[in-house]
Subunit: 171 residues, 2 copies
Amino acid sequence: MKWDALEDEACSMARTLAVIGDRWSVLILRECFLRVRRFEEFQSNLGITRHLLADRLKKLVRFGVLRRTPYQTNPKRHEYILTQKGLDLYPILMAIVRWGDIHMVDERGRPLLYQHKTCGKFFEPVMICSECGEPLHAKEVHTHPGPGAAVADPKSVAARATRRKVSSDAA
Amino acid sequence: MKWDALEDEACSMARTLAVIGDRWSVLILRECFLRVRRFEEFQSNLGITRHLLADRLKKLVRFGVLRRTPYQTNPKRHEYILTQKGLDLYPILMAIVRWGDIHMVDERGRPLLYQHKTCGKFFEPVMICSECGEPLHAKEVHTHPGPGAAVADPKSVAARATRRKVSSDAA
DNA sequence: AATCTATAGTTCCATAAAAGAACTGTCAAA
DNA sequence: TTTGACAGTTCTTTTATGGAACTATAGATT
């Protein structure tokens, strides 16, 4: 597959993966949320090759997830800062962390704990239904084609999801 | 980086990425949630090369996300089914879809809409704080090292998160 | 009996992407 | 004048992926 093609699929998952679907991008974003902003710091924290880092940063800027801003002239230096679009990736990263906290911890326990500033408590990130507030489970969701669905193509996700009721009784 | 090393990092995100951090795995899992279970169907839906598909399925089975179960003998045939560990990836996929629905839709609108069986309504997946129920935002979270933190290593995520209060004022 | 089809892979080779190291250019500070 | 920080780029080697063809098993078809 040419990975650029993902952008054009009628599937929000595929389109998102076009942005963050490679091994390094999510780790780079983790660093961004840790307030890392500069090339050298990304590089030394992650051990990514400089070539790839330059490439991925360009991609994230191109997609509007990061913004490249000068922080000094003479010589010109830029830093990479999360845009609102980038900040909105937070639930994805937290969902990834949460799964790791549950399924990939070793005997020593969780590497990090999270405290909610607004309520002061240590919490778990939970994904809920916006309408009834109940936690979401794969088997409790029906899927329907939306206005942007490519139902004409029987292989499109929308067409298949419709036929089979996405994840309604997976596994 | 040797990607196997991700498993051993004291970071739940890195550990999760060891499982689903490559381009194909998430798409394969999407298919699983669409009730795809067989090699040929994965292959023809995704256009992944057979070699890589075999490889990725093996990896997902090894990590306990999928289970390889015989559905006939003579000749032996197996299908790949989500385990509970695999079903628990649902919030990650929904978070990815949600971001794409907000930031990557074209003029035609969303490809898919989601209906919650238990309450009957079309919904958005929202990530909230388990303690106060409020939607989570990157800037409202403090991070603390947990029991499994590798604070001794100043480059570890835990050590850096502690110093800089993860994402507390990102961007 | 011979052929076709479905299924789940494996093998082989060409190409693309990533790793690893060294190099460039600009400027400030020692 | 030399060193060091910074943000890359260039180069070569290694690894991963794409694409196509091949294998194996067995039931169904001619």
